[in-house]
């Protein structure tokens, strides 16, 4: 009786391994898509630093749309926040 159970378990293990092998064979040509890549070191792709700089520039641009009094008030608020312990 126990031999039959072991036989069944063994069959399931072998079938799973066979399925894994089949998937590995099928995935092999699909993985070849990653063989071709683009060199991004000198391209137009932005780094994190570039993105941060652009965001800072946008912030300044937004400030330029405000009146002088509003900008002064914002700066005073920022100084107060920084000065707080």
């Amino acid at each position: 009786m126990i031999y039959k159970k072991i036989d069944k378990v063994g069959k399931v293990i072998v079938d799973t391994m066979m399925l894994g092998l089949l998937w590995a064979i099928i995935a092999l040509p699909i993985s070849s898509f990653s063989l071709v890549s683009l060199d991004t070191s000198e391209s137009d792709v932005l780094s994190e630093q570039d993105v941060r700089t652009i965001e800072e520039l946008n912030y300044i641009k937004e400030d330029e749309t405000k009146s002088m009094r509003e900008m002064e008030r914002d700066l005073t608020d920022d100084i107060i926040v920084i000065a707080r312990p």
Partner: protein, 190 residues
């Protein structure tokens, strides 16, 4: 006892896998040479500096893979539709035997295992093409061509399976149904 279907599928998956891999490598080199695209072959694979060249090479090598899969599937579908052992005409069978091409006549198990593997490859390539198309790394029309191939080949394979099922049904009606009728008659007589 190992599953016969799984062994058969693994057996059938090896040849198209090698063929597709070779097609991808060869097409990248050939298309780069034709377009005059410069690339570096490093541990990352083929690295291109020009984005336009990268997109063109990626697109045409994907197209080459789709064409190879299309040709393979056409051959399998031709065998399934015309040389299937369940519905090949006697005249064509004689012709094939006369020209020593009897290997073209195959059973449903052989044909459908081949068809399923090649179709799975085509579906996977199409899925990858769709993803690459979304990211703008290949031309959109490549995705459309790949999807169309997928739809047509799936439809033809389904048609053959339906034809096969009809043959089985008609075989049942011709062979089993008269026997059942005879048995019913004998029961009624008794």
């Amino acid at each position: 006892m190992i599953s016969r279907t799984l062994v058969r599928l693994i057996d059938q998956a090896v040849v198209p896998a090698i063929l597709l891999l070779c097609t991808r490598l060869a097409s990248v080199i050939i298309v780069s040479y034709i377009l005059g695209a410069k690339f570096i072959f490093s541990t990352k694979g083929f690295v291109f500096h020009n984005p336009d060249n990268y997109i063109a090479v990626n697109s045409f090598s994907t197209l080459a893979m789709v064409v190879v899969l299309g040709l393979g599937l056409t051959y399998i579908l031709a065998k399934a539709l015309y040389f299937h052992d369940t519905h090949i005409s006697p005249k064509l069978t004689t012709k094939l035997f006369r020209h020593k091409m009897a290997t073209l006549i195959q059973s449903s198990f052989e044909l459908y295992s081949q068809g399923v593997i090649w179709l799975v490859y085509l579906y996977l390539v199409t899925i990858v093409a769709v993803i690459l198309g979304i990211f703008g790394v290949i031309y959109d029309w490549i995705t459309i061509v790949s999807g169309s191939f997928c739809a047509i080949t799936t439809l033809l394979l389904i048609l053959d399976i339906e034809h096969e099922l009809d043959e089985i049904d008609s075989g049942y009606v011709e062979e089993i149904a008269p026997l059942n009728n005879n048995l019913e008659k004998e029961d009624n007589d008794l």
